[in-house]
Subunit: 135 residues, 2 copies
């Protein structure tokens, strides 16, 4: 099972530690192609085209896309839009912060499975249930 | 010429006045399907699914997508990702702010025409040149 984990980088890295924990949880269920999303180090050695083409190759190769969509991010939205046309199963996880929720284009898209959660452990439970069928 | 203008709403409305001016400029070249992006009023009467399905209908109907991609936004990224598969011509306009530039997934995508600009008038010149061939 190849898992593409998608989270904000240039849009804002305030959730990177959370991504790191989610990636750690996901590694129980398969290979996470995008472990670097859980690190604050930004790739400055690759050109934007190299980053784009590598990430799109990974989206194509993946069996499932898991996106954390709390922090607004062009790259995450872009990858979700592309993954829909590539017929990938897509799970979106988000928290509502100060009454603000995630994009209508994400929550309103019937091709996605969206789950709101409050704490890291709730997100882990959602993923466990999804991948193993157990609570 | 039907133009789909894409800009941030829930991701952050700090550029709404700029979107309003860009939409005003675009109306010289065709019908802008998404004039509401230039208004700070958020649609609270429609469900997320109604917003998503209406916007995707407009993306499909459009002859071109013009996205302002300075403010990180899931919806804008999503629309760009979908529009690529729908074979729409897509122009992305962005400013670099405090040394921060836009997403690698946008700048690095060879299916998009990306233009960096500094001031509103520069963006209008880019659009004029694109639509009329004149500086």
């Amino acid at each position: 099972m190849k898992i593409y984990f998608s989270g904000s980088i240039r849009g804002g890295q305030q959730d990177t530690d959370l991504y790191h924990e989610l990636i750690k949880a996901l590694k129980q269920y398969g290979t996470v192609l995008t472990e670097h999303i859980g690190s604050k180090k930004i790739d400055t050695n690759s050109s934007d085209q190299e980053i784009h083409d590598r990430d799109m190759k990974w989206v194509r190769e993946s069996d499932i896309v898991i996106a954390e969509v709390t922090v607004p991010s062009l790259g995450v939205g872009y990858e979700i839009g592309r993954a829909i046309h590539l017929k990938k199963p897509i799970i979106c996880l988000y928290r509502s912060i100060n009454g603000k929720t995630t994009s209508a284009m994400i929550r309103g898209c019937s091709d996605l499975q969206c789950f709101e959660y409050a704490e890291l452990n709730d997100a882990k439970t959602i993923l466990k249930k999804f991948f193993t069928g157990n609570q």
